[in-house]
Symmetry: C2
Subunit: 415 residues, 2 copies
């Protein structure tokens, strides 16, 4: 079963927002056995929307549309859909009740533009929007299903999970797609590819292997297409096992999880705690950890010691160390990590100090120079990295480097 | 001048990665006066790529392609482009030299798959990739320009900024697009729309107004299309001034910057410093600030006090306060913010404590309950928020709420 996603909104085409909806929807649909043929972002323009709808319907059976359902004049999706289907608009009682309920809840007067949000093309089935005022709309038209949803992520997500996917499952007999992902780190894409070339060559036509490199990690993803979930799963597992065995030195996880989740899982299993002393990453590393539910079992917290005064006051870094070796040095990062262990009473600690850029570099320590330390009560490991010139990238790479060092230290001490 | 962006990669269509490249490219091209007609994401599939190229060429003059240039077997963009143009492949000396240089730099042996990365369709002009091994490719074909670039963001970004845009500017006479964005906060989209309805109705046909709502903020974006940059700019400014005056109570910035940057700019102008005590946001608020170059002038750092022990040890929160009122309470957040002011010696401080979810909620304090405090030496303001059930959203909304409270407190004390 093929689907297409059309996201509508000038804000996407001028780059003011990143379309995160499509990836989220694609993942959910894939797990339900629906393949996304194409994702298209088009403008808030009548002709363009009409063309995109017709093109998508020529390629796919399910067309999912987000965006352009707001109360303001630039939002024209709804009336353009009515035009596309050749129908008029009607007021929907359930949708109007929903809009009224929301405005009442926030104690706001119901404006005419808001009341009009409950108007829908007369051939649609309304999907109630529990989290917002714009109703979702389901259309059956010439053998295809069209679903129009708001572009606001948490409104759309609720609809997809609770309403759209169950309804699609009830409507179509869905084929099966099985993915099996292996997370590797510390080894380049082409070296991995060479290592597993013969396994890749032996894959049957209905199983594909993809390499997804990102910041020192490569995810290897096997995808199998067919009808029999159990058989496909067994088949894919055999190849995944072969690959994981061959590349075992680099395998971080046998599931599609980010590196920091590997760290959290490993530490949670062993009942260990972690703290952080972040300078150049400025809270990013802590955020990567704490974005995951349950991280508080492992992560006690830490300090964002952007100013040197905090490195001294909170972590107990010796001012002489900073003045002799500099803030960005192996000596300072060692005192930071050992200070964090002591001060926050955690089993493991991590510390980072570096020059994220764009300013602050010198000939000796250019932008991108980062010292990272990982430690437990028995051992402190430090490492100097030389990343590039881009601030955000240096921050991301530092965090990934730190997670990798922590996992490596944990593995030395485990098993 | 119209362009289209085609991003190639199964990883996008199964939702394993979010396509951030397109928004970035769209923004850069827009500023150069090139409008993006459509963004399409297609799979690593020969027929699909060929169709997408032909469709895009039917709508636009410039076709920008990213992805599918890696050394591994799933990457087929290059040979598919050669097929599309009906040409063979040749080894490019400059590209080969570049690949060799990079492998030498990292002291890695040059594999055959890497050497083959220097092979390109014979009708292309190579765009050197300073940050990676896959060359960029520029094609002139039947009056259209095609540019193929790697999907790795920092490789693509360098090429677009340093090579592609200058070359497009040299090739085409580009029209002008002027944007003027106003950032508002604390007021809903439909209320803003009603407030400025008459101004919106008076806009000439070549100026469009868009509402971009996100997490309690609405950006109002005016876009003008034409030939005379100076005239358009003057015209757009008049309407932007009218709107900003009418909505002045909610206007945070007269430029397209995020809310935390408004805060940083305001504090930097006044020479003020800030520290943070984050519990439920777990480092996210600090990261939002420190992602911006120059943030260290304002932001001293702070503590991620995930564990209660840290709230007591570092911030001096009284254990009795926590046991009587709870970790998530006005009393605790007050002691946190005042502890941060004292401990980190900053002019302003912010503190957050809440239940991000999905666990930890109670009937009295459900998931999404967040207390935020903003303070300076003279005044502490606290506020209780009740957000929703989604962890990441609660984290984001908390940070935005905190920035809004800090800006409000600064405005009371400013001018």
């Amino acid at each position: 079963m093929l689907a297409e996603i059309i996201t509508i909104g000038d804000e996407i085409l001028i780059g003011q927002i990143v379309d995160t909806n499509s990836a989220w929807m694609a993942e959910k649909l894939n797990h339900a056995g629906i393949r996304i043929k194409q994702i298209s972002s088009v403008s808030d323009n009548r002709e363009h929307i009409l063309t995109a709808l017709a093109e998508a319907a020529g390629r796919a059976d399910i067309i999912l549309i987000t965006g352009g359902l707001g109360p303001t004049k630039d939002d024209i999706t709804k009336k353009t859909l009515a035009e596309y289907f050749g129908v008029g608009m009607v007021m929907n009682d359930a949708a109007l009740e929903n809009v009224s309920r929301i405005f009442k809840k926030y104690n706001r007067p119901l404006l005419e533009v808001n009341r009009l949000q409950a108007q829908v093309p007369e051939n649609c089935e309304v999907i109630l929007n529990k989290n917002g005022t714009a109703p979702g709309m389901w259309f059956n038209h010439e053998g295809k299903v069209y679903v129009s949803m708001p572009g606001v992520p948490f409104e759309m997500k609720y609809m997809v999970e609770e309403e759209v996917i169950p309804k699609l499952q009830a409507t179509f007999k869905l084929p099966v797609i099985i993915h099996n992902t292996i997370l590797t780190a510390g080894e380049g894409e082409s070296f991995l590819a060479e290592k597993i070339a013969d396994i890749e060559d032996s894959l049957p036509a209905h199983i594909k292997l993809a390499y997804l490199p990102k910041l020192g990690q490569v995810r290897l993803r096997l995808s199998a297409f067919g009808d029999d979930a159990e058989k496909l799963q067994a088949e894919v597992n055999i190849y995944a096992d072969k690959i994981a065995e061959r590349a075992s030195y680099a395998v971080m996880a046998r599931e599609d999880i980010p590196l920091e989740k590997v760290l959290l899982n490993t530490m949670a299993e062993r009942g260990l705690t972690l703290s952080a002393a972040e300078s150049c990453t400025g809270g990013y590393l802590s955020h990567m950890l704490t974005q995951h539910a349950g991280s508080s079992k492992v992560f006690l917290g830490g300090v964002v010691s952007y100013a040197n005064q905090l490195k001294q006051d909170i972590l107990g870094v010796n001012p002489a160390t900073i003045s002799v070796f500099g803030t960005v040095s192996g000596e300072t990062v060692t005192e930071m990590v050992e200070g964090a262990l002591r001060r926050f009473k955690s089993d493991y600690a991590v510390a980072l100090t570096g020059i994220a850029g764009p300013d602050g570099g010198t000939a000796e320590k250019p932008v991108g120079t980062v010292w990272i330390a990982a430690a437990n009560a028995n051992k402190t490991v430090i490492k100097k990295f030389t990343f590039g010139e881009k601030r955000l990238q240096n921050i991301e790479r530092s965090a990934v480097g730190a997670f990798f060092m922590l996992i490596t230290l944990l593995r030395e001490n485990g098993n």
